[in-house]
């Protein structure tokens, strides 16, 4: 019964979405206040209906209602509760419903927190947002309905893909979706602004928190996914340049660019058309990402829920929204006059450079991802584009970005002097180069990536700290410390995020430069050396879990005779799904991770054991989380709330420190 109610609520939400697409847009065009005002309650109603629908589906999973086909396919009574819940979105239909839920949540947020927007702008934003929701609801209802019942319910389900039964992956999709779909609101703002034909500083201030929130979620989502790949897939890597990973990286790069250019719109009223274009492209590429993931068009390890027919529908949705928005942009984009002027050496130019590098790197990843498809269709060559290409083609852009970041971040607005800005930084540049040289001397392999990366990481991280310190002005240390605590959230956010980026760069460089692998047959009780560590496989036992059977190895790790860790790598078999998985055991350390996986028993006795030492592995995700934290701090900047409280565009004299 509840399932049918959920189904019905979704259909009702679709009807509301259709009305909400038409009424506010017509109202805004004609200037009818009540038609525009109708959008707000409709946005809330849409969200409430979809939330109920989602709750009904979750209930079916929690109670293991095997009369629902989706539950049969993706759940099992013996599964732990958390995975029963995460099973809701661990499949195509459920993940689409989650997508729609997030979409309506952002729509409703624009209604709840957008009371300071001009009425026509808000009505148009809600109308555009609702048109996206309507398209996805139609797709869900007509091609991927999660609520279908089965005529003959089985006694038990077929279980969720064991790889997905993991806390990391339980939360990876919701965050990623909050990011992907969060960009929809920036898209709606951009399209609404194009319809209005007006983009001003106030628009920049309204759109930035939403873009920032989406970016924070996307950052966390990608970091979680990468971390999951690291400990679950079992070979110690963290990024595989898989099409699906690229599908999340491309919108992230665009969102990062958008975030930075929206600052220019807000502070300097320039780069308007470009910012609007970024908002359109950012969401466009997340739609494309969804299409890539869901259609299984590109060969990928992630295609758990692939289906080419549905893919075609998604392609139509993607093409429709992109074509519409881009045509509108072509017609109206030129009308977005720039106001603020700036010299060639200025913060604005720095941000333009940031935008060019980010956008081009995103496009390069896109070209590489789509190339196999292109090559096959256009010139009949079946080929692959793998990590070697992406490493070579993408890395230079990140290197360039890291080189200019500390300087660009400290240049003043309007007109700067590169010599004066460098004066505070050159000592740190020397330090960074020394660090790189040091790495180059110590490292054993000939690759340049580690020394260059280490130097850049240090340069960016120190640059972020210098930037923060410079905001305190002149005076006694005590005075400056006092001012430091009073700096606006945006300054702290900026420094934290840039510091995080530096740390991530440093960690990737060091990890790639110094990681070591070892594969061997380990005999019980006989230790072997790997780097500074001695590993001993003490025992292998059969252990039963709630819904799996495990072959568990007991490995002791020592260093110079001192005990370091007990690791328990496993190989699991999930009988319901009939799938084996490898569970790596990791001793997380500040400086390094020791990573062990258990392989097959060998004919001559002993077991295959693979061990990896991954220096600074934790720093990588710490850096990513710092980036997200920086965004979060920035989000809580008082100035956004000051702006939110004001009815009109906030006065120019908002408490902006001298810039």
């Amino acid at each position: 019964m509840l399932v049918e109610l959920g189904h019905f609520a979704l259909i009702l939400a679709f009807a509301v979405a259709l009305v909400q697409t038409v009424v506010p847009l017509v109202g805004a065009h004609k200037g009818w206040g009540d038609w525009m005002a109708a959008a707000n309650p409709m946005a809330s109603a849409q969200f409430a209906l979809v939330a109920f629908s989602f709750a009904a589906l979750t209930w079916a999973f929690v109670t293991s209602d095997f009369s629902v086909q989706l539950v049969v396919n993706n759940s099992h009574t013996a599964k732990p509760m958390i995975y029963k819940i995460s099973g809701v979105w661990g499949n195509h239909e459920g993940s689409l419903l989650l997508w729609v839920l997030v979409l309506t949540l952002f729509g409703a947020s624009a209604a709840w927190f957008g009371s300071n927007l001009p009425a026509t702008l808000q009505a148009r934003v809600l109308g555009v947002q609702s048109s996206i929701a309507a398209a996805f609801m139609a797709f869900t209802i007509f091609t991927s309905n999660p609520f279908w019942r089965t005529a003959s319910p089985p006694f038990d389900g077929r279980d969720l893909n064991p790889l997905l039964q993991d806390p990391g992956l339980a939360f990876h999709p919701p965050f990623l979706y909050l990011g992907y779909v969060g960009l929809s609101l920036a898209f709606s703002f951009a399209v609404a602004a194009l319809i209005e034909g007006r983009v001003d500083a106030a628009w920049g201030r309204w759109v930035r928190p939403w873009a920032l929130a989406a970016w924070v979620f996307l950052t966390i989502g990608i970091a979680l996914g990468s971390y999951w790949a690291y400990y679950e897939l079992g070979w110690g890597g963290f990024w595989f340049w898989d099409p699906v990973e690229n599908a999340s990286l491309i919108p992230w790069l665009f969102a990062t660019a958008l975030l930075h250019s929206a600052i220019v719109v807000e502070k300097r009223e320039t780069l308007k058309a470009w910012t609007v274009l970024l908002a359109i492209l950012g969401f466009g590429f997340s739609l494309l990402g969804t299409f890539i993931v869901r259609s299984g068009l590109l060969t990928s390890v992630h295609a758990f829920a692939a289906d080419p027919d549905r893919g075609l529908w998604l392609l139509v949705i993607f093409a429709g929204f992109m074509a519409g928005a881009l045509i509108l942009f072509a017609l109206r984009g030129a009308a977005l006059e720039a106001k603020g002027l700036f010299a060639t050496v200025s913060r604005e130019t720095g941000l333009v450079l940031n935008n060019v590098l980010l956008a081009v790197s995103a496009l390069v990843v896109f070209v590489g991802t789509m190339w196999p498809l292109m090559a096959e269709m256009a010139f009949d060559r079946v080929l692959s584009v793998g990590p070697p290409f992406f490493n070579m083609a993408f890395t230079p852009f990140m290197v360039a970005l890291a080189v200019v970041l500390p300087v660009g971040a400290m240049l003043p607005w309007k007109r700067g002097n590169i010599i004066r800005t460098l004066r505070g930084l050159w000592g740190f540049a020397v330090l960074a180069v020394v660090m790189g040289a040091l790495v180059w001397v110590i490292q054993t392999e000939g690759t340049m990536l580690a020394p260059v990366g280490a130097a850049l990481g240090v340069w960016v991280a120190l640059g972020a700290l210098v930037d923060l310190a410079s905001r305190t002005g002149r005076g006694s240390p005590a005075e400056r410390l006092r001012r430091l605590t009073r700096l606006p959230g945006a300054d702290w956010g900026k420094a934290t995020a840039h510091l995080g980026f530096g740390i991530t760069v440093l960690a990737i460089a060091v990890k790639v430069g110094w990681q070591t692998d070892d594969i061997r047959v380990a005999h019980l009780g006989q230790g072997f050396d790997h780097g500074a560590y001695t590993l001993t496989l003490e025992d292998v036992q059969r252990v039963e879990g709630p819904n799996f059977i495990s072959t568990m190895g007991f490995v002791t790790v020592t260093r110079d005779g001192r005990h370091v860790a007990e690791l328990r790598p496993e190989r699991r078999i999930y009988p319901a799904a009939g799938m084996p998985t490898t569970e790596a055991a990791i001793d997380y350390g500040f400086w390094r991770d020791v990573y062990v996986t258990l392989g097959d028993p060998q004919e001559g006795g002993g077991w295959a054991v693979r061990s990896y030492i991954r220096p600074l592995a934790n720093w990588m995700w710490t850096g990513a989380l710092l980036m997200a934290l920086g965004g979060l701090i920035s989000l809580f900047d008082r100035r956004f709330r000051v702006a939110a409280g004001a009815r009109q565009p906030a006065p120019r004299s908002t408490p902006t420190p001298a810039e």
Partner: protein, 154 residues
Amino acid sequence: MRALFLILILGLAMPVITAPPAQAVQPDEILDDPALEARARALSANLRCVVCRNESIDESNADLARDMRLVVRERLVEGYSDAQVMQFMVDRYGEFVLLEPRRDGWNILLWASGPILLLLGLGIAVTAIRRRGNDAPEPLSEAERARLKEILRE
């Protein structure tokens, strides 16, 4: 080649984890000569497992990946150079096995996409900045001047 690709497409329907629970490189595959083994690992990392989803044979668990790894090692032991081994694999399995696409024909466009797009982006940015930077107003055109005179006369 077409047939092979069809098989690959059909293979998509199967999750990659249905592969046997073996693990990537097995201890019994490892060559005694560490230099040769290092070359084998480096080559394997750039060869695609043709039945997997975007995995190199170095990290794949599939049986076929093991076979391919063994072929690479056999060739190396026989004294093939790295390039010869790669060519051998391409002859046997098609260009599809190369994770690093060749720099020939249309692929040059792929490899050049980064620099081309960068130049394009920088070009657009520079023109935009130049336009912004020159804040001196444009001189009036003939028509505008005439119109101005007219206004002043009124």
